[in-house]
């Protein structure tokens, strides 16, 4: 694998410093199936999923972030089986430089979800 060392990237009209692209890209992402026997459907920079209870999913990273706080993370669920009148959302319950826990909430309690997605942005270690 070869490396391009350039200060800027241009499409011929507009140009942007390479740092915007490197620092602005997702450092990990995951799409997991959270019912029956949970498993990871697709991912980048993830080593394992831990099913820690109903609706509780821990994601471990292969390449850690630089610190436990200096990154942004968001998680959401896609679930066609939930009651659409209920309140459904995913929250990040805990986080460190190399792992985080998602809790999938439905009607105020943690509940398994078909399809949980998370994206992590920030500085790698």
């Amino acid at each position: 694998m070869s490396t391009l060392n350039v200060a800027n990237i241009s499409d011929g009209t507009d140009s942007v410093p390479t740092g915007y692209v490197v620092k602005g890209s997702a450092k990990s992402w995951v799409n997991l199936y959270g019912k029956e026997t949970p498993y990871i459907v697709a991912s980048m920079n993830v080593s394992s999923l831990v099913d820690a209870g109903a609706g509780r999913y821990e994601i471990y990273l292969t390449s850690s972030m630089s610190s436990s706080n200096e990154y942004a993370i968001t998680a959401t669920k896609q679930d066609t089986t939930v009651n659409t009148d209920s309140t459904c959302f995913d929250v990040i319950n805990s986080r460190s430089a190399d792992a985080y826990q998602i809790i999938s909430i439905e009607d105020g309690v943690s509940a398994d979800s078909n399809n949980v997605n998370a994206v992590q942005m920030g500085e790698l270690a």
Partner: protein, 141 residues
């Protein structure tokens, strides 16, 4: 030739290697949290592909040393020289040492079985009472 950053190797491997869904799951209980249900670890398929292919993942010792590094300080594992290919069984052992709490696989001295590697078929698909699951204890006759 330099081996670069771990993330770069993972990105390159994702383009090159087909994901491998493991046929194993790792069940464990945390002895420091007796009320918590049994946890079930599932290896990531891209990670497993990297482990089987070799020359991508760093030595497990680098993660263990990094666990002692204060938050925000430079870490060793992203820049460590990668190790060779593993079997799936070796990869599972590596993953236990990387992602399971040390209280589970290294420090526990009790009699209860708190760590088991099982085929995925052994995990119930009916998740009723999931928050009360514990590892079944087999008592010798």
């Amino acid at each position: 030739m330099t081996h670069g950053h771990l993330w770069d190797r993972l990105a390159e491997a994702k383009e090159r290697l087909d994901p491998v869904q493991s046929k194993y799951r790792i069940m464990f209980e945390n002895p420091d949290d007796l009320d918590a249900p049994a946890a079930i670890m599932c290896p990531d398929p891209n990670w497993m592909a990297c482990a089987l292919a070799g020359d991508i993942l760093p030595p497990i010792e680098t993660y263990q040393r990094d666990a002692l590094v204060p938050d925000g300080e430079p870490k060793e594992h992203p820049y460590a020289k990668p190790i060779g290919p593993m079997t799936e069984e070796e990869a599972i052992e590596y993953l236990i040492m990387k992602d399971c709490p040390t209280e589970v696989w290294r420090d526990y001295t009790g009699n209860r079985s708190i760590l088991k590697i099982v085929p995925v078929e052994a995990i119930p698909t009916n998740r009723s009472f999931r928050n009360a699951w514990k590892i079944k204890q087999e008592i010798a006759a």
